[in-house]
Chain length 436, copies 2
């Protein structure tokens, strides 16, 4: 199908300034505007926690646009750059074809600049977030994807990404994965894996993982440490807190537990949220996953008020090795600071607003705190997120149950209500079927 | 010599509140107060940039005390804990003897708690900074060292630390090193190495070092990346800025260049300071070191105003891979933010004051910035700092020349003037000979 045979009009969820105003409207179907563009016919699209920043009018956009940045669908039209193999360009320009099933990360990125080659695709200088003034988003029947050869994952070409699974296993497992599950690869699952990956691999955490003190933890094989005071077994028990148990916080927790279990690292993990229903959902999800996904460490959910006592008991008052901050506000940062140990790390993947961060320089100096801020490079994090999705179908493979990350699948006719409910905490993650 | 035969009185440089008031006074010689204590007869002691925080009344102390935290000397008295090997205690309790030459890191630390075993000696929960209300400092003829078996380095026992040099080489080289040079191991050299080590080994920098994109940069050997877009040679050129060229900034720059040269990493380094005399000293030091210590990258000094153009030219406007912030104020942090690239790291080893850090959460999110704050764990950083000291005697081995880090060695009779001169930028680093 070429652009010529597309319908003229489509349904889309449009955000209107200044705030709390989304409307389902008939708008033109997008056209190819550049040789690198693709048009995707959307199968499913979802509301993300960070859509609420836009919804509430804090997100930056000021103009009417199609909201949303999570979508999965089928390529129905490709620009002139496709079908050719060009040295230095992403291989997808040569291999992607009309009809392929694709999932998009929440930002478009070129895939061929210095920043993208480093794997920092979320900050490609020519990248754009789906669902902003500059680019219509995913909550539509059709989406224009810029730099599509750098942006999209081709789920019909499982050899196009690295995996712990063999090529045959990937092909086989892809037939069994629901599109509602694969949609999680657009944002929340890679973002959770990004938080967990940064925390476990943080240099401040490394001495506990390698069993070798700082600074030899950077190169434990390079020096003879046999005659020196090394770590005792109790020193190697990692303690993490996850702050915020929205959908991304749950993904971060599941990813963290999976990494710790896979690498057989001893641990304590506390998952914190002020909302009881989120805590009980997290606990139910934890209880439901099998031993291989949760290792042998201690796990607890906690209110904000109860967290410090739990951490102090686990660590004799020292504090957490690292905090995964998955909220994006100053209360969460302050709690993270209170819980982290000296020489600890705070990994923040939440979308922060305009307030100045709530720390004096001296506070950060006095505790030797490390802070990692920022957006997940979802394109780069796709492969480990895919492997986790396959492993943890017990968590990510179902919809609408007590232990499901996804609350329900509805049509655009329920979009206005769904935004209001999600904003007020009356429902979990909602997926839209734009054709329902 | 035991405590009994020590003189009763000694000379010391005492700080008086509220600010800008140091006096050379006769005070009692310290006594052993705890079985883990040692008394050190000081050979040399020095003014450190961070002594100026105390001098100016911003450092926290409110009571009269002996200032200073850098000293080298000879053990003249040891508490009852010494001379015994006890399981779990630092080996120094068994091996240190009266008469040994020692250098102290700027904080005392126990060496036997969880935090110390991780190598985070600068934040030992029972640690104390020399030269504060709680513990008299190093600018005296005699110093009491608490937790001395965890704190001191025994320079007469070169097998007590890890080194790239063999034991025989260490013994041989130690005979040639001046005490004025070894004194740099107390603070400024390990702090410089700490900054450089964190910057080069930062996870955000790792893709350029390993040649493998994030997140595979954490485990480049674990995955087959042969069929994927890897980094091009130009992507691997690391760009660093050092902000602040006081003595620690010079040490950080020299350490950074040494690490880059040793690991044969391609690089650009810009060393920034608003003061022309500091820039020209840095350039002169750079010009004086031999090829093995400066590798094959580009090096430039710069004013604050000129730095962004240099970095933009080197990186096509992308920015620095990491910044070494060696000042400790908000102007330096703001400059660091302006110069760092998306997914870059700011490593801050400066002693910060009470102002809130000058960043909005959104700024940090939008650039995916990592920040590492805090005090050098000097005890843990001693071994690599020692190796650098040996290698770079062309920088650290002389006094009073145009390219010397150490401006002069004077007696306590010049202490009051030296503080005033150092505070006003009229001289470089000053060492005191308390017996002169």
């Amino acid at each position: 199908m070429s652009s010529d045979s597309l319908p003229k009009m489509q349904k889309a969820v449009r955000w209107h300034p200044p705030s709390y105003d989304v409307r389902v409207e008939e708008i033109p179907v997008p056209k190819l505007e550049h040789p690198d563009d693709a048009i995707v016919k959307v199968k499913y699209t979802a509301i993300c926690g960070s859509d609420l920043h836009v919804y509430r009018g804090h997100g930056g956009p000021t103009q009417v646009h199609t909201i949303g940045h999570e979508f999965i669908g089928e390529v129905i039209s490709l620009g002139e750059s496709f079908g050719k193999s060009v040295e230095g360009r992403p291989p997808l320009y040569a291999t992607l074809t009309v009809g392929n099933k694709v999932v998009a990360p929440f930002t478009a990125n070129c895939g061929e600049c210095h920043v993208c080659r480093l794997g920092y695709t979320g900050r490609c200088p020519s990248g754009v977030l789906f669902g902003c003034d500059a680019l219509d988003g995913g909550q539509a029947q059709y989406v224009r994807v810029p730099k599509a050869g750098g942006t999209l994952f081709n789920l019909d070409d499982p050899n196009s990404w690295i995996s712990a699974l063999s090529s045959d296993e990937r092909i086989s497992v892809l037939k069994t994965l629901a599109d509602t599950s694969l949609l999680l690869l657009a944002d929340i699952l890679p973002t959770g894996v990004f938080a967990a990956t940064q925390a476990v691999n943080h240099p401040k955490v490394l001495p506990m993982v390698t069993g070798v003190p700082w600074p030899y933890s950077f190169a434990p094989e390079a020096v003879d440490t046999s005659s020196h005071n090394l770590l005792q077994p109790s020193d190697k028990v990692l303690t993490f807190a996850v702050v915020g148990l929205g959908p991304v916080g749950v993904c971060a927790t599941i990813s963290l537990l999976d990494i710790l279990a896979t690498r057989q690292l001893p641990f304590n993990v506390v998952a914190i949220d002020p909302t009881e229903s989120r805590r009980s959902k997290m606990q139910a999800i934890y209880d439901g996953i099998d031993k291989s996904g949760k290792g042998t460490g201690q796990f607890s959910v906690s209110s904000i008020e109860g967290a410090k006592d739990i951490v102090d008991t686990w660590t004799a008052g020292i504090g957490c090795s690292a905090i995964l901050e998955v909220v994006g506000n100053n209360s969460a940062l302050t709690l993270a600071y209170d819980l982290v140990r000296p020489f600890g790390a705070i990994v923040s993947v939440g979308v922060h607003g305009e307030p100045q961060v709530p720390f004096e320089g001296r506070q950060l100096y006095n505790k030797n705190v490390s802070l990692d801020f920022g957006r997940c490079p979802a394109r780069a994090m796709f492969p480990p997120a895919f492997d986790l999705l396959v492993k943890r179908q017990d968590v990510f493979g179902h919809v609408g149950e007590e232990t499901s990350l996804i609350h329900k699948v509805v049509g655009f006719d329920e979009a206005v209500q769904a935004y209001d409910d999600f904003d007020k905490g009356r429902c979990g993650k909602v997926i839209f079927d734009p054709w329902k």
